[in-house]
Symmetry: C2
Subunit: 491 residues, 2 copies
């Protein structure tokens, strides 16, 4: 204790001494190992009220340093009650992102190196390992060598970059040079996506200056897939009305129902119309690792870009999103800007990833992917995803055979959209209220966390099976809680 205090004295300017780091590092590793051992003892969804954490903490920073011991104690006292446990096997909300042992160890190492991979030179290992593991991952998904990859932080940022490249592709508009409003004679740009697309497509287009009016949402069929003929019609009408179509964003695994847009047919239209086709496969894309699921990417070789997030269904701690594109040169044209202080003598021989994006600083993220692919192996990863698909089918069957519930969408992966629908209730408003109440009561047990969406105005529950620690028993527990809570409400 004496010795540690010394570190806070004026005379000692450095970091935490290595021996102190060793001590508390071991302590924290043990804490984390125990946390994972006991993960099921925590409520999945935090039970805290708004403002509780905030009011438990000092409103001014400490002038003098505090012992690490005290800081670590506050994890249990202050932080843990406000954690919603994404690692919990019964976290079945949104699209889950679970961390894994090898992923955590890799991130620990990456944080220690603190290498910034903006330039090849600023850590050759970061740039070259990114090339190698993205090449591995490309093969795992069955993509051809025509696709080149880059790691960004999130799917939102990946998709924004794809749309920016699409914008750059209209070379006669010279948007990088002149901006979107730079030439009076140009037409307004339009991007197409389905009604079921993720909000990130819209946010990306807004950010890029396209505007909400430049985003056309194409209706979906009964299975929530974009209707290609309506896409073709919208493009042709827009062209007649003076718009300039430039991009289509299709989705493989939409957020509400994981529906799969017909990429092949959409790609045909894009080719004909000379539009950039971006495919948002952020959640479901990893399923293409399984041969019998590879069909979800049918047509991908005619797409220009695709986003897939190992930090969703591949046990990689956030954040790690990958953009694959067949046109890295256009992406680079859109974003490269090299000031004098970042020029290096190797510039022509190497990949400087900063040239391909808005972010200059880049964490050494490829380490995570490298550890995870090597530790689990491609077969181990595929088997885990396969098991999720099996569990998803089981749950869907349970819904289908249960008189009190009904399924609300097909289940191409392991996300099930359903709702309670007892035989005696047929008023849609009443059903919406019932299902919202059911969701809240199920979540308040702390034993499971699921979320909702709306489909054709109907309040629909979503149950997602994609957690690394989720087993059959957890799915059965979900069924039991749903059934019991519904009966409680109805009685």
């Amino acid at each position: 204790m004496e010795k540690e205090k010394n570190n806070f004295s004026k005379d000692n300017f450095g970091d935490m001494p290595p021996e102190e780091f060793r001590k508390y590092g071991h302590q924290l590793i043990d804490w984390i190992a125990d946390y994972f051992k006991n993960i099921e003892s925590y409520p999945v969804l935090s039970k805290i009220n708004p403002g509780e954490i905030k009011s438990s903490l000092p409103q001014t920073p400490p002038i003098n340093g505090e012992p690490m011991n005290e800081i670590l104690k506050d994890i249990d006292r202050k932080i843990l009650p406000g954690i919603t446990h994404w690692n919990h096997p019964n976290f079945m909300a949104y699209f889950n992102s679970t961390s894994s042992g090898p992923g955590i160890l890799a991130e620990l190492l990456s944080t220690a190196f603190n290498a910034n991979g903006m330039l090849w030179k600023t850590s050759p290992s970061a740039s070259e390992l990114e090339e190698v593991v993205l090449n591995w991952f490309r093969q795992m998904l069955g993509l051809s060598e025509n696709f080149w990859g880059i790691i960004y932080d999130t799917a939102s940022v990946s998709s924004m970059h794809a749309i920016a490249a699409a914008r750059e592709q209209i070379s006669e508009y010279q948007i990088r040079q002149k901006g979107l409003a730079g030439r009076k004679e140009i037409k307004r740009l339009k991007i197409y996506t389905s009604e079921q697309a993720h909000s990130s497509i819209e946010k990306g287009a807004i950010t890029l200056g396209i505007g909400i009016e430049g985003i056309q949402k194409i209706p979906v069929d009964k299975e929530f897939r974009m209707i290609p003929s309506l896409l073709a019609k919208a493009i042709s009408e827009d062209k007649k009305n003076g718009w300039m179509p430039f991009c289509v964003a299709a989705t493989v695994g939409t957020t509400s129902t994981t529906s799969v847009d017909p990429v092949n047919e959409i790609a045909y239209i894009c080719k004909k119309e000379n539009l950039w086709l971006h495919v948002d496969a952020a959640h479901a894309g990893v399923a293409a690792m399984i041969p019998e699921m590879r069909y979800i990417l049918n047509g991908i070789e005619n797409a220009d870009s695709m986003v897939v997030n190992p930090h969703k269904w591949m046990f990689t701690p956030v954040d790690l999103s990958i953009l694959f594109t067949r046109k890295p040169k256009i992406l680079k044209q859109a974003f490269s800007l090299v000031p004098e202080y970042l020029k290096t003598s190797e510039d022509n021989a190497v990949t400087n990833y900063m040239d391909y994006g808005i972010q200059l600083g880049r964490r050494f993220r490829s380490l995570k992917l490298w550890f995870i692919i090597r530790y689990f192996g491609t077969e181990g990863l595929a088997n885990r995803i396969k098991e999720h698909l099996r569990l998803g089918k089981n749950f869907a069957e349970w819904i289908d055979h249960n008189n009190n519930f009904e399924r609300m969408a097909p289940v191409p992966f392991s996300t099930i959209c359903f709702r309670a629908h007892p035989k005696n209730i047929n008023d849609e408003i009443q059903l919406n209220e019932l299902n919202e109440q059911l969701m809240n009561e199920v979540n308040s047990t702390g034993k499971i966390f699921l979320t909702h969406t709306k489909l054709n105005g109907k309040f629909v529950l979503r149950l997602v099976i994609s957690g690394l620690r989720t087993e059959e028993k957890h799915v059965l527990l979900a069924q039991e809680i749903l059934q019991n809570k519904l009966l409680e409400i109805l009685s």
Copy 2:
């Protein structure tokens, strides 16, 4: 070994078992403690050649999982030779970012939780701790309560968001709705920044659809500071010529020379012209923690936003950039987009940070800041930065008193711009070549890493003192190497 292998079998679908995590976690913590203990034994700048790492790794992913033991061994064998050591006390290139013990431990914990702070509900601790520590940090910099903060990944992204808010502020243009080309009668937008501003301002504006022609670079004075009268003149001329000025980005601590733009005078112009003033203080802003340095933010209360990066000069592992703004409502107007599946019952009572940015997924970054501020204390942090300033002044004095070198810019912080200029050489081309050679030879010793810039066409060396482990002896070593290498070259 037997037991571990079991984890890769088909029957075991879960994560690395907690006991295995514990074992390799301890091993890796020890590795990292030793790494920091021996940090000075590594060459600062990696000596590897382009392609060496890549060719040392398999070109296909492993089908079967590999033991963690083997993976960790490859850190020494494959990765380490390609690391440029940002943690090395003689890393004096770019703006350094050094990690620290408490920062690494916090990131380890954050990675284990893997909490996504997109919504308050998805981990209340992540959202509320962000509010608390940014409030602390605001006080540390002497900013008023009018400033509200948010954590992004990088300064590039922070500044892009600030410029997007500036664009949104021109409410009559309805850019979110109509896009930048949406109304024929509108004028083209123009943003102003100095010739010495960081490339991220330009990249942000390009991304947002402003275009290179919409970026006006204002000349600087002899001390590389934006000249306010020329800014006023440019704005007035542009208005006459049909442009719509909307934003000014001033810099506190430019990348080449750490010059400080006169924010106060610039703010006066912005107020008069109703322009959004963004201040890029990514590197140097933290120096405002020291009372005698607070002057660098004079006028900040009239600015609309400011970016400052704890991951640069505050010992926080990448990535953690903070945007402070007096107008969070406008930022939210620009970016908020809440699909049904992300609506929660608490939406009106809490801060959902996803509403304020392009990124939906958000790592639990505030933990890092919390650990670091608590462990070092505000005084400990300020003392460390003060010591860097002292060392910087010493180095500048050494240059000033050395006949073979000359200083090329003022030194408001601890970044020194200088060049070799022996009395007998006066040809500028020859001097440029000499200095480039000197830099390369100094860096190739592996004992120090510094980079260059160009000022008025002159090749200038930059030496940055901002590493947590950098002491007086490391600066003296830099002097010795520079002096000796120069004499070697000259003889």
